[in-house]
């Protein structure tokens, strides 16, 4: 589904942080162009 797509990741400090999402996305063949964890509090 994400093969050859470009992906922007916004992770949540109290949810799933960006590096964890990035590791998952890498297995899909997508290219992560930006990944950042944000604090929403």
């Amino acid at each position: 589904m994400l093969q050859d797509k470009k992906v922007i990741i916004i992770g949540d400090r109290d949810g799933i942080p960006a590096p964890a999402i990035e590791e998952c996305i890498k297995t899909t063949g997508a290219e992560v162009v930006f990944a950042s964890t944000e604090c929403f509090v």
Binding site: R13, D14, G15, I16, P17, A18, T37, C39, V41
Partner: protein, 513 residues
Amino acid sequence: MTMPVVKGAAYILVHTPDMITHYGTTCTLEHETNPNSEFLKKVPEFVRSFEEVVKYAPNQAYIGSILPDELSNIPKPWYKNPIENAKAEGKMGELVTQEEFYLVMKQSDAFDLVMLEKGFLAAEKAKAAATRPFYTEAELAKLKEGYEAEEIEKKVQEGAEPLFSGGKLVGCVKAAHEKDKNLTAHIMVENLVVKASGIIALKNLIYRNNIPADSIEYVIECSEEACGDMNQRGGGNFAKAICEIAGATGATGSDTRGFCAAPTHALIQAAALVKSGVYKSVAIVAGGATAKLGMNARDHVNKGLPVLEDCLGGFAVLVTEDDGVSPVLRTDVVGRHTVGTGSSPQAVMESLITKPLDKVGLKITDVDKYSVEMQNPEITEPAGAGDVPLANFKMIAALGAKRGDIDKTAMPSFIKEHGMPGFAPTQGHIPSGVPFVGSAREMIMAGQIERAMIVGKGSLFLGRMTNQFDGVSIVMEKNHGKTEAAATVSKEEIKGMVAEAMKDFASFLLERK
């Protein structure tokens, strides 16, 4: 070696309605980028009165008038269901008005940077003298006479930061240097606010727990601001500055920083300093952050809610040598997120929750209450950030289910029993772990719970120095009496044993002759 105990805790809120638009970053950025915005025009209509803030149930939980669990019995939205008989003074602290707070800012001002209007100052001094035991005559006299309104207006035109009360200019804060970017009027406001709210918190700790102010030997300040000049931004030392005004004359101190995790880092440091015998009595203290006032105001206003981030927060906790009664801080049950831990939610939770418990053979269910990020969900949910405490409790429950400590079907009941509703203001470091220390102390001493875990988390990536997340945790538990003293040998006993051995040896020598 003594066990460190939590001797007392204090929590304060300062209602600062006029500071929301002038010092909260959401509003100040809007002023810069879109000065005529509808949002800015609407904000004043959505600001609450002091009475409304006092009656707001999460605030009553924060100052210790009700336990956090009692919020579950109050219908939501809490802002529409006030506690009608609520008081500004609670068991563990109080709510302070903006006007009284300006007095404390002036009291905190060692360099004549705060100017208050004559009439305003006289009226507030008289009110404080008549109704507030915190202020001595000498303290109030030191505030002097104040300034003419025209002088203050002139200073504001020249760049001083204004202090308003009900929209009326009643004072200002001047820059502390002509050119130094770290001593601008804006930064001086932020830092004087931290200092003043820290003083109120430390005074509450001392006053409400009958602690001789000069018995405190060391203070760790753990908020998120930085004081220093152009040559040492963040040099410190808020701690000693706060001690000076709060009357802790026997203390020195230092500042600990670590974003929202700093208070739990400070709690562990305080416990370690007491346990090691370096100091007998260590307080941790933090003031509030003007920047976060009205942080989610845009969403609150858009959705018709009051601006709920209208208070500065502050707290102070005293850690002392074992008194045989107060809850013990288990320095052998400390969790830490290390550089190598990684960022997966499972790894984070294991490092903070299960690893320290495993070390001493405790299960997830052996901790009766977990205090995580305790933000009031009524503030965060309208902004799309969800219920942060609940998200944390769910992760702890999931970890428990994965390890087999609890059955998967028991997760909802685990969350209800071992968690609690969020109740703390979104003041960065204020809601992280520490808001429950006071209530945990009360519940442990009343026999309602045996053990609580205080978990602090910090978003280090906000400083753009690292992508690392951070977190630490420590367990508080019931004090079963001074067991260590009984198990160890006293100095007198050792002397007796040595004397006995010497006597035997002398007899042996005499017999040999």
